[in-house]
């Protein structure tokens, strides 16, 4: 049951109604006439075909509201109107006024109580005329203003709707002006074309005055606008909220920048202790705004905002910090300081101190950016509404806590442990500190991640009252390291208890990759730390392998065709030795790694390195190096481990087929080392061995062959499943840039990128204005450059260095126009679709459109759905059947990928729209 509101006074010494208020109660003769009205010129209610139905009736909706604790409308009479489904979207009831009122330049407000069965917007229309003699031909029915509610009005209860309006009129009396003779209340701004029946709406207590405050509200944590409305201003919006001075300091939550209201109470907890002095922090794009911060100390579903005469928060007030308000009659902040100017959004918000006796638990905390308004619901002054001024509201939870947090877990087919492998039995850990967990799947199982609940009553429903009891965060398996460990961030280790649900699942066989037996190596210089090899005796004495069934400790052999001088002694080993070599089995796959001037031999089945002990070559849990590998000069190699390398050394690897279960050893003190052929296994790439040695997986080499934008290359890329365009040499010239400038990297002699990295937000793509459009310059490694040319209308072309158009890329659907600055991590994603290739530019998790606006075109958030269709340049045309070049590019099953500017395939990042399994999803 919701908590019942009590009366809260917002301000000190403020009257609630102006002296010029006009009121229509319908209880007395305070109106002239009522009837239906439709703004639709073709309405059957205008032609007279339908007469409509409106009347003043006894008030049957005078019950006590359990939340308010009082009847919102206990009056005797109310106005009823039949909302006809044959009326337009601005169909309503017209109330002719006893006395007209003058429209002024200043904002005035219409307060209307309304009770209707459909949730939709409400509008007030004023009908009137000019009063001067020259306008005497007007009959007083011209629509003078249209004031619509900020959002849908709740159904089946009395709601006090307040809308603002103004209009041209002389300031002084006697000069004439605009008088309003009738008000039209449109109870249901909506197309009723699909309605099956009419319904009744009820209206009462209409007041015209100068106050924008509602008379009552039953909504908890209300805001003055539709919470779901998207960002109305592309130039002004909140970007983050945070807290310093608390337990985890600083804490910051980045916003998605696409709304005005953010309810983060199910995902975000800020933390503090009683008595802490806190400073709320705000990120905002724009200026001339102020911050206001609230904590619902009473957990009663609303934020009171009374202030003392000196501007400090009043007794029992929930407002804790504000920068700028004239609520006291002069401009002050929450510290009681006089302030001027008001452009304070870039300055720190005033700090505040939590009560020393504040009870442990969760409280709702509200952050608001607004202009000169401490109403926690947001400014409603006409022309300065919070949506219009670019403000926003963010609700989070504030946890007032003790020193420790309890940790528990639950899972099927496995268990979540702490880093040391301890169980979570009566377990506590320090509050607000990073905490490492380890996954322990049951045999035959692996895990897909964990779900972490942080807060209170974590074993119950998340929402049972005004605020969530806990927040929920998910961590997928890819966040864990190879040992199955993950360090949970500090801001998850909050609340009274943290419950970790392990998500264990049946392990499925890894798909077997069947490589191709590739070329034979002819020199050690051809070795590659990422490649995988098959190693076999040049005398058909078998392939080196790992065979757990024969002897998991020692090197084994398989695929023997030549037993040498004697039969294998052990029958089981013999059978294994003569089995067919399977190149797809990790047991027969090797890596030969050169690391810090040493060679290492590693088996992918055993997942161990090879060494020698006594006379036998075996696997080691350590990372021992070989002494070396010898090139024999005939395309074969010999391996040597332990004791130093020399021609007279005794430690060369020898295949000994007549030995039981130890297939590779040193047989005599003399050099009886076997000679081996090393074949590349194509289709396999891994840096498993290198990483185990402490090396770093290298960045892929830059593929220069894809730099040219021509049909053949893209056809080839398309056939392979994807294509990519690398962008290098980001520079800044003159004023034609998007943001900042730093080269992304330079290409070294070996075709790798030096200093290569994804671009920062400050990176630049050169924008060169040309006639009718812009060029987005993509530098090439080799001679000739590729350009992305944007026509003024937004269609891009890819052109080569000779400026001959190569492709035309059609512009995508228009989306919200965003700021051209602040791009970061710009990716180019090229996907294949039937008959075309799709090029998308992605920045900051959003697909970018290319239609410009204003003086600088370029990229802006959007669907990013570019496609290229054809080629201008006849040089690339494909003949009579393909006169324009690429024509229809038919490709096999799409392998989609997003590539960084270095050509590295990366997962999608951050927020925005992306393609998942071929479908566009919003994240």
């Amino acid at each position: 049951m919701k908590k019942i509101f009590s009366i809260v006074s917002a301000f000190v010494l403020f009257a609630t109604l102006s002296a010029q208020a006009q009121t229509i109660t319908f209880d007395t003769d305070d109106y002239k006439a009522v009837g239906v009205y439709d703004a639709w010129e073709g309405s059957p209610f205008r032609t007279g075909e339908l007469k409509g139905n409106a009347a003043v009736v006894n008030n049957h909706l005078n019950q006590v509201d359990e939340v308010l604790g009082a009847a919102p409308d206990p009056s005797a009479k109310i106005l009823a109107v039949q909302r006809s489904r044959f009326g337009g979207n601005l169909f309503g009831v017209r109330i002719d006024l006893k006395e007209p009122f003058r429209l002024t330049k200043n904002n005035r407000y219409a307060h209307v109580m309304i009770n209707k069965p459909v949730e939709s917007r409400v509008m007030v229309i004023g009908l009137g005329k000019r009063t001067e003699e020259a306008w005497s031909w007007q009959d007083g029915t011209a629509e003078q203003f249209w004031a619509i509610s900020a959002g849908p009005v709740a159904a089946n209860k009395w709601v006090d709707v307040v809308v603002g309006f103004n209009g041209f009129s002389y300031a002084d009396t006697g000069k004439g002006g605009i008088d309003i003779y009738s008000l039209v209340i449109v109870p249901d701004v909506r197309s009723a074309h699909a309605d099956a029946a009419d319904f009744a709406c009820y209206i009462d207590e209409i007041v015209i005055d100068d106050s924008n405050e509602t008379r009552f509200s039953t909504e908890t944590y209300a805001v003055s606008f539709d919470k779901s409305v998207g960002n109305q201003r592309s130039d002004r919006f909140m970007t983050s909220v945070g807290l310093t001075g608390g337990t985890i300091s600083p804490q910051t939550k980045t916003l998605t920048k696409d709304h005005h209201y953010y309810d983060l109470t199910t995902t975000t907890i800020f933390s503090a202790k009683p008595g802490d002095t806190l400073t709320p922090t705000y990120g905002y794009n724009g200026n001339w705004m102020n911050t206001d911060t609230y904590i619902d100390f009473g957990n009663d579903g609303k934020f009171s905002f009374g202030v003392n005469a000196d501007g400090t928060p009043g007794e029992g007030s929930d407002i804790v910090s504000y920068q700028y308000s004239d609520a006291t009659g002069s401009f002050r902040n929450s510290l009681g300081e006089n302030v001027s100017g008001g452009n304070l959004i870039g300055s720190a918000s005033p700090s505040f101190t939590l009560p020393a006796e504040m009870a442990t638990g969760l409280y709702r905390m509200r952050y608001k950016v607004d202009w000169n308004c401490i109403d926690p619901a947001g400014n409603t002054a006409s022309g300065n509404e919070i949506l219009h001024n670019g403000g926003g509201i963010v609700d989070v939870l504030l946890d007032i806590h003790g020193d420790e947090v309890k940790v528990s877990q639950g899972a099927l087919n496995g268990e979540v442990l702490d880093a040391e492998g301890n169980h979570f039995d009566n377990y506590t850990t320090a509050y607000g500190q990073p905490f490492t967990i380890k996954m322990d799947p049951a045999p035959g199982f692996t895990f897909s991640g964990v779900i972490v609940k942080s807060g209170y009553n974590v074993d119950g429903e998340q929402i049972t009252g005004l605020n969530p009891n806990y927040i929920i965060n998910e961590f997928p398996a890819k966040k864990f390291d190879s040992e199955g460990c993950l360090t949970l961030p500090a801001d998850v280790m909050v609340g009274g208890e943290v419950y970790i649900e392990g998500l264990f699942m049946e392990k499925k066989d890894e798909p077997v990759v069947d490589p191709t037996m590739g070329k034979e190596l002819t020199s050690l210089a051809e070795l590659d730390n990422g490649k995988v090899y098959a190693i076999h005796s040049s005398n058909d004495e078998g392939y080196l392998c790992y065979n757990e069934d024969v002897n998991g400790s020692y090197l084994s052999i398989v695929g023997v065709k030549n037993d040498g001088s004697g039969a294998v002694a052990d029958a089981a080993a013999k059978e294994a030795y003569h089995a067919e070599y399977e190149k797809s089995s990790p047991s027969g796959q090797w890596q030969i790694v050169l690391f810090e001037d040493n060679y290492y031999l590693y088996n992918l089945g055993a997942k161990q390195f090879v060494t020698r002990e006594n006379r036998d070559y075996l696997f080691s849990e350590d990372t021992p190096a070989l002494d070396g590998i010898r090139e024999n000069g005939d395309g074969t190699f010999s391996f040597h481990a332990g004791g130093g390398m020399s021609d007279n050394s005794t430690y060369w690897a020898c295949i000994v087929t007549n030995e039981a279960r130890t297939a590779v050893r040193n047989w005599t003190w003399n050099d009886h080392g076997s000679t081996f052929v090393i074949n590349e296994l194509e289709g396999l790439t891994t840096y498993e061995a290198l990483v185990k040695l402490g090396g770093e997986e290298p960045k892929p080499q830059y593929d220069t062959t894809t730099k040219y934008f021509n049909a053949d290359q893209l056809r080839a890329e398309a056939a392979a499943g994807y294509a990519r365009i690398g962008i290098l040499g980001v520079t800044r010239t003159g004023n034609n840039y998007i943001t900042g400038a730093t080269p992304l990297g330079t290409v070294s002699e070996d075709n790798t990128l030096e200093g290569a990295r994804a671009p920062e937000a400050s990176e630049v793509l050169e924008v060169i204005p040309t006639e009718g459009g812009y060029l987005l310059r993509l530098e090439s490694l080799e001679e000739g450059e590729g350009y992305l040319s944007c026509a003024a209308g937004g269609n891009f072309s890819l052109v080569d260095a000779e400026n001959a158009n190569v492709w035309e890329i059609a512009g995508p659907e228009d989306e919200n126009y965003g700021s051209i600055s602040g791009f970061d991590d710009l990716y180019v994603d090229i996907e294949k679709e039937v008959n075309e290739l799709m090029v998308r530019f992605i920045s900051n998790g959003q697909y970018m459109n290319g239609q410009g606006n204003g003086s600088i075109g370029g990229l802006r958030p959007g669907t990013g759905a570019w496609s290229f269709n054809y080629i201008y340049n006849a040089n690339y045309a494909g003949g009579e059947d393909d006169p324009v070049g690429i024509g229809t590019v038919l490709a096999p099953e799409a392998t989609r990928g997003i590539f960084s500017l270095q050509g590295i395939r990366v997962p999608g990042n951050g927020r925005g729209i992306r393609i998942v399994d071929g479908k566009k999803v919003l994240k």
Binding site: P74, H193, E771, N795, W866, S867
Partner: protein, 503 residues
């Protein structure tokens, strides 16, 4: 909303418990629908907005004091004698040239921000009446209106609300004593005007009768638009008040494009250019978009040495505006002679030929049309598939209530080379279609999607889809089609189309 309750004196709490029944009784009334027409999806356009939409493509003529000063925004202190056309201005030549491009009307600038009036107004001396040269005294709106009527074209005038010359600007009586009166005078130059253009530029620095200061006004109320509109409509009943006038919206850019998704509806108070480009499906007001763009490479007014955009580029603008449920007002500035330059005239003719070549031969009329469903006919109206190709805008095809998707197929005996498809909704029933797709087949059985990556969402008054998905090079590729299939995938109510053309 603040959380406080207003106590009405000592009002007692009413008894709680079950709600009483209302004594208000609903009446059962419904309009007759003998023709079984679909219910309109609101909001819908007024008759004058429908007529305005049908103008589609029209010209804009920025001509006046700035032509002779080289300014785009004159300060307002220019001497009247500066306006000195070297020949007699010839609005008929302007309109003839744009008619050759396929435009159906034109809007002449007759007072720009500099305040100089191109007709002998009673409201100010800053007009052609005092320019002191014969050519300059040509009454432009009068000549323009007469020429348009002679050529069978629509016409209207641009009159700047912002007046940097007037000493009354910013005062309360500027609107009643100057602006409204000027609008009334212009309304008398023809009661069949189709549009009055109100620039959104408002306030700033200016001459203001010698004050030479900055004056800012609140455009939300200063011009008393509701009553201005009431007055103009009384004289010119079909004159749409554009921009500030509130009956058609600025499309949000001056580059000649609308959103591929473009609703004719909008919430009146929006100030977002991005929303202007797409409209709002749930907008409460019928407020269709007009795109203003320049055909020349200079400014809005003529400037020495300027060039003219290519016909291909202009055609692209057409596809991205008229072809996306907006209208296109294309600016062609006359020069100091009071004529359109030859280069402009030639380009307009070229554009006209291009329009005729590309969109002049409707192949749909030769096709057999079949649909997945036809609405049950009424007394005097049918909703047959053949209505799509009968060339009549007042007949239309529709499905039955409750059917919000449909397919429409055009089949030819011999394959046709096609490049464009055009669809039109009967907008007096509101804008209904949310999503559609177009496919073709060469062999009659395997279908391929057309339109590239173009978002085939809204239709509205008119939607033209270049089948190769490119507006900048739309003609380069044709598709040999034995049949074309239009699938309406989503609609706000039963879909209706009055015409489909295939070129």
């Amino acid at each position: 909303m603040s959380h406080k309750i207003l106590l009405w004196g000592l009002a007692a709490l009413a008894a709680s418990g079950m709600k009483a029944q209302s004594e208000f009784t609903l009446i059962n009334e419904a309009p007759a629908n003998p023709d079984n027409e679909p219910v309109a999806v609101q909001p819908v356009p007024t008759e004058r907005q429908i007529l305005w939409n049908e103008t589609e493509f029209y010209g804009f003529f920025h001509y006046g004091m700035n032509t002779f000063t080289g300014q785009e925004w004159g300060y307002g202190n220019e001497k009247e004698s500066t306006y000195a056309p070297t020949q007699m201005p010839n609005p008929e030549q302007w309109l003839t040239a744009i008619k050759a491009a396929g435009m159906k009307g034109g809007i002449a600038v007759v007072k720009h921000h500099d305040g100089f009036c191109l007709w002998p107004t009673s409201t100010t001396t800053h007009s052609i009446a005092n320019c002191g040269n014969t050519n300059g005294q040509a009454n432009i709106p009068e000549l323009f209106g007469k020429a348009a009527q002679k050529l069978g074209m629509k016409y209207g005038f641009y009159i700047s609300p912002w007046d940097r010359n007037s000493g009354l600007y910013g005062e309360d009586n500027y609107v009643t004593d100057v602006f409204l009166k000027q609008c009334e005078e212009l309304a008398k130059y023809g009661d069949d005007q189709f549009e009055m253009w109100f620039d959104g530029a408002n306030g700033g620095d200016g001459y203001y009768g010698g004050k030479s200061k900055t004056i800012n006004i609140d455009a939300s109320y200063y011009y008393d638009v509701p009553n201005l509109r009431d007055r103009v409509h009384r004289i010119c009943k079909n004159c749409v008040m554009w921009g500030v006038g509130g009956e058609a919206r600025w499309i949000g850019n001056e580059q000649g494009y609308a959103g591929e998704t473009n609703w004719a509806m909008l919430d009146k108070s929006t100030s977002s250019n991005a929303i202007r480009q797409t409209g709002q499906e749930e907008g409460w007001q019928w407020n269709p978009g007009e795109s203003d763009a320049k055909a020349t490479t200079g400014g809005w007014f003529w400037h020495n040495g300027e060039g003219v955009l290519s016909a291909e580029r202009l055609f692209q603008m057409y596809l991205e505006t008229v072809g996306r449920n907006a209208t296109l007002i294309l600016n062609c500035p006359p020069d100091k002679t009071g004529h359109l330059p030859a280069a402009t005239v030639n380009r307009l003719a070229e554009l006209g030929e291009m329009m005729q070549t590309r969109l002049g031969n409707d192949l749909a009329k030769k096709a057999q049309v079949t649909v997945s469903e036809e609405r049950t006919a009424g007394g005097a109206r049918t909703y047959a598939a053949t209505n799509l190709t009968d060339g009549e805008k007042d007949t239309y095809w529709a499905t039955n209530d409750g059917t919000n998707t449909a397919t429409i197929e055009f089949t030819w005996d011999e394959p046709q080379d096609i490049r464009y498809i055009m669809l039109q909704e009967p907008i007096r029933l509101g804008q209904r279609i949310e999503k559609f797709k177009v496919e073709y087949t060469t062999d009659g059985s395997s279908w391929k999607k057309l339109g590239g990556a173009v978002q085939t969402t809204t239709v509205g008054y008119k939607r033209i889809l270049p089948l190769n998905g490119s507006t900048s090079n739309s003609y380069s590729k044709s598709y040999s089609a034995k049949a074309v299939r239009v699938t309406i995938e989503s609609s706000r109510s039963c879909p209706a189309l009055h015409t489909i053309s295939i070129y």
